[in-house]
């Protein structure tokens, strides 16, 4: 009798895991569709950088590596701290510790955004607005789209912290935190492509 009970508990447990797994796989499908959108924006940028300079500056004239490198490091550290956050959560870390790492991650994301907006402002006040050339239009929309994703990630993280305080660390909240983590890691992967294509190859 106790055997049946254990078997039932195990199958129930299994069903629950499958649901979390399915939800996370569904989120992967969203991430991949987002990745396709980004890749087409990069393709558009690659062409605009090639044929769309018009009378505006070339990437070589516009970009320098100093600030974008600091920006890249901030985002890279933040993707690592989010990893520490979700890994600790899985192994039963306290909510205080989990929230602490999440706050650090979001703060690094905010530093990244701040540097990006500062650069936009610099270019803009030099007269390099999106209207100047196809290249600048493509630049602002590609990098800006990524910045928008980081912004929504920060808002999402803040909302999640409110939910943690309200509902406690139940399985649903944990699953949401894992999904935000995947989103954040994906944003860093997209940024590798942007940093390489826009800044490193642009300065060359």
């Amino acid at each position: 009798m106790s055997n049946t009970g254990a078997a039932h508990a195990a199958s129930h447990d299994h069903g629950h895991h499958d649901k979390t797994g399915t939800v996370i796989f569904g989120f992967w499908i969203f991430l991949m569709s987002d990745l396709i959108a980004f890749s087409l924006m990069i393709a558009n940028y690659a062409d605009a950088e090639w044929h769309g300079i018009a009378n505006g500056p070339s990437p070589h004239e516009l970009f320098s590596l100093g600030l974008p490198t600091i920006e890249t490091m901030a985002l890279l550290i933040s993707t690592f701290t989010f990893g520490i956050c979700t890994l600790g959560m899985k192994y039963g870390a306290s909510m205080k510790r989990t929230v602490g790492w999440l706050i650090l991650t979001l703060a690094l994301g905010a530093i990244f955004l701040g540097i990006e907006l500062y650069e936009f402002h610099e270019f803009w006040t030099e007269g390099n607005t999106p209207q100047v050339s196809g290249f600048l239009t493509a630049y602002y929309s590609l990098v800006g789209l990524h910045g928008l994703h980081v912004t929504s990630g920060i808002i999402w993280g803040i909302l999640l912290m409110v939910q943690m305080k309200t509902f406690g660390m139940n399985d649903l909240i944990k699953s949401r935190l894992v999904r935000l983590g995947l989103f954040w890691h994906m944003l860093d992967i997209v940024w590798i492509a942007l940093f390489t294509k826009v800044y490193l190859m642009g300065v060359l």
């Binding site: 890749s39 044929h51 890279l76 550290i77 993707t79 990893g83 399985d171 860093d188 390489t196």
Partner: protein, 117 residues
């Protein structure tokens, strides 16, 4: 694989094993990023060669981060994710390369040289 709960705590060997993967991913990412910056800023290589090296470093870092942070590997649990990612990259290569090809062809037919209009 359970994504959100573990039977053991943070002092377990499993935790240390998982953490090692994140640390490796982070360390390699830092090295690859700085290597790219040094190559571009240093100007030791010709532009074409530097362009290729930086591209390869970027792709390497992309693969490393999928492995370290997003837990993509050849394990049975990660198989569906891996197939999804590979299919996505097939679509990306077709669509992104196709876009660049079509637009570049259009530009050449309209007599637009590189960097001018």
């Amino acid at each position: 694989m359970d994504y959100i709960n573990s039977d053991v705590g943070m002092d377990s060997a499993e935790y240390k094993h998982d953490m090692a993967r994140y640390v490796w991913g982070f360390a390699l990412s830092v090295v690859l990023t700085l290597a790219g910056v040094v190559i571009v800023a240093g100007g030791v290589f010709s532009t074409g060669l530097a362009w290729s090296i930086v591209g390869i470093l970027g792709i390497a870092q992309l693969v490393i981060q999928f492995w370290a942070f997003m837990h993509l590997d050849f394990s049975k649990e990660a198989r569906p994710d891996l197939y999804l990612v590979l299919f996505t990259f097939l679509l990306i290569i077709l669509m992104a390369a196709g876009t660049v090809w079509v637009l570049a062809d259009l530009a050449s037919r309209m007599g637009m040289g590189a960097g001018s209009m």
